[in-house]
Symmetry: C2
Subunit: 447 residues, 2 copies
């Protein structure tokens, strides 16, 4: 028997530790580092062995005669542990390098011939190839950085909401019926009973507002939509929140703008390396304009001589124009579009008492693409059941949801953010698959 | 057009704000609070209106003549906003109360007759009833507190691992094949192709070790197991991690013990209220004993005169005895059981080179129940494909997974923690459904 008392400090150093050591007089010291051999540039008497580590690339220098082994012992794609001397070198990535003294091979590739040239700065291949070799293509530093940014966005969502008194929940993804209804539901057999995959945690998060007042969830949702576009996925990560005791649906937009501010601050602070690798700027989120659906449609129709087809619908091209308008007129990449038509929203959306053709709801557009849908929900039991009847829907299968309202619910509302879309716009990609680790679409079920 | 600039500070106060105000000379001040009317105790000239708020219960006092409205205006289960005078009162929950001056009804229940007596301190009803009325039963303060503890455990997992250089990933839950193989897989149709729900993120997290070195995921997994026990769920939340460049599988156990220490510290600090409500103590996690599978089986067989049926299997009763042994001999609620038999582990588990009948793997038992399975994985491509062949399995459908190893992978390992089980043992429940928001089991698909 032996005891475990916490994570052991490793003798090997990470890049940030090496830099700190070099800055604080530790240059010329003997150090140990491990990593994957990203690439080797053999210059004859000297060779640069570039290690890929979680914090970035690290240059190790092989000098004929000084290292106690032949260069051929090190192969690209091997995992190695190197002992050497830490040196400052302005030309090396991060300003430091390791002069190799000895190497310990941790693991050898069976095939060092990579299917993709991952060590190039920009991975020059098709999206299709990137996705087919996902575990290889993401070894490229720029490809990898996108998903570090994605982590920052998710992390900021949770941390900001913890600070705002929200409770995190985990709701089931297998259920007896879908929240939004409609045909876009994946069906499965659950021990000889019909079941579906959750399109959203909508019903559950509302039910939990009566328990925790404010809740959030960061989890997968499933949509059996037959869209084959650059912005649709059949499985994606939804950042959902729902909050009670709101004064109006404006509270939800205020909360989202607070989240985005917090997220940009966290990214600037903790993900500066990835931002630099990607060469991107962060959008301002300190003030996000909000404009009514019917109003902005007219504004863009006028400004860009766009012919409005349907006053109660918003086409993707119109979203793009709204994004352009917000940028030009209000210097904002983000814009809230409010008061969506009631027909376009689910039954639980609260109609605007001043004009019931519209709802107390919003979308958030980011660079001309919808990344969030949200709004106030009906909290009154009779109003809810009336609306269900008026829409010709059935209460069947919604008993527990409706029961929650029967026994009292505060005024509330919430939103859902598509994480992959938000990431895509932030890192400047134009296909949502670029910012999805393993996308699921009409034709893609692997890897 | 108007601008949103962040979450608006509410005029209504939360319990912690009221307490702080009272402590800092703000007693006798006029305040506004909102909440759900948890219960009303009418004593004649005075009535206690207990509000349920996210931080706990708050006592509001209705005094005949002082409040500008009749008591009957306030109904149980309504959502209200109250204006009143903040007072210190040692007998009130949290030492404060509000003397009501006026009330604003935010929402009325259609039916104030609750199906469950949620305002009792201990909800005295069957598990079945609790689950059938989940959105109501969780309004009970003790029931709710369990899920706040669950939040703390998840939050600690992420925060601890961020600090240890891990990257969070989101892997797909719909796939073409299962990670572990076997029959316990939910099947669905994916656009006219057969698909399955993920039993674990195993393959994906391993593939991502080659990219990020250290990764974690907190997400649902799906097991079509036909067990109907107190410890099995068909959908649960798995806290998964996988880490590269390990010196041995001991690194994984060290990491888990570090997490558990961090989690207990976070719970003690940030969830003290819930711990008090539940009346529980936190287990010590500063040193967790580890003992070999074959050794502990003999130890418990001897100490408790238990007849060992199969030296290569561990029955639930034996797990209970091991838990008892660890408590009695080592004063620990946790115990790592190491070197599980190879036959009991999946193909990717690394066999112990010193005795290949066993693996470099472990389970963590908590109070006699398995809450974690982990270990070192095979990282060598040929060793992996050899083992697949030796087991008579096919490589079909695993091409991308195996391809990752072909092109180099560091030594690595990881673990998966069942969140609901960990919560259950921590809060002292004996059925995992008690610590699952909306459990899915053989018979339960709703709510």
């Amino acid at each position: 028997m032996e005891y475990y008392t916490g994570a052991a400090k490793k003798e090997t150093l990470e890049i940030s530790e090496l830099r700190k050591k070099a800055r604080t007089g530790g240059a010329k010291a003997a150090v140990r580092v491990n990593g994957a051999v990203h690439t080797i540039r053999d210059m004859g008497n000297v060779a640069f062995v570039i290690l890929r580590k979680r914090e970035g690339l690290l240059q190790a220098v092989y000098e004929e005669g000084k290292a106690g082994f032949p260069l051929r012992d090190i192969r690209e794609a091997a995992a190695v542990e190197i002992e050497g001397i830490l040196e400052e070198n302005e030309k090396a990535p991060g300003g430091i390098e390791i002069r190799i003294r000895s190497v310990h091979i941790l693991s050898e590739p069976a095939d060092a011939q990579m299917p993709l040239a991952i060590s190039k700065w920009k991975l020059d291949t098709s999206l299709e190839a990137k996705l087919n070799y996902r575990s290889i293509s993401l070894r490229n530093i720029r490809e990898r950085a996108k998903f570090r940014i994605q982590e920052g966005l998710t992390r900021a969502f949770r941390d900001y909401l913890y600070g705002q008194g929200f409770t995190e929940i985990h709701t089931p993804k297998i259920g007896a019926r879908g929240a939004e209804g409609g045909a876009n539901i994946f069906k499965l057999e659950y021990f000889h009973r019909p079941a579906v995959l959750a399109q959203s945690p909508q019903f559950y998060k509302q039910m939990m507002v009566g328990v925790f007042d404010r809740v959030f969830e960061t989890a997968p949702v499933f949509r059996a939509e037959k869209h084959n576009t650059k912005r649709h996925l059949n499985e994606y990560t939804s950042l959902d929140l729902e909050m009670g005791y709101i004064d109006g649906f404006e509270d939800i937009m205020a909360m989202e703008s607070g989240y985005l501010q917090y997220a940009m601050e966290l990214l600037a602070k903790e993900y500066a390396g990835e931002i630099k690798v990607l060469g991107i700027g962060l959008p301002r989120a300190d003030r996000i304009p909000a404009v009514r659906f019917s109003e902005i449609k007219e504004l863009v129709a006028e400004k860009y001589s766009h012919k409005m087809k349907n006053p109660f619908d918003l086409e993707p091209e119109e979203e793009v124009l709204i994004g352009q308008y917000a940028k030009e007129e209000w210097d904002s990449d983000f814009v809230f579009v409010t008061h969506y038509p009631s027909k376009k929203r689910p039954f639980y959306a609260m109609d605007d008492p001043e004009d019931t053709r519209y709802t107390l709801s919003f979308d958030l557009l980011y660079k001309g693409m919808e990344i969030t849908t949200g709004g106030q929900r009906i909290h009154d039991y009779r109003a809810l059941t009336d609306k269900i009847r008026a829409r010709g829907m059935t209460e069947e299968g919604m008993e527990q949801y409706l029961n929650t309202f029967k026994h009292g619910m505060p005024p509330h509302g919430g939103l859902g953010i598509g994480l992959e879309r938000l990431t895509m716009k932030l890192v400047g990609e134009d296909n949502v698959r670029e910012t999805t680790l393993f996308p699921r679409d009409l034709s893609r079920l692997e890897p």
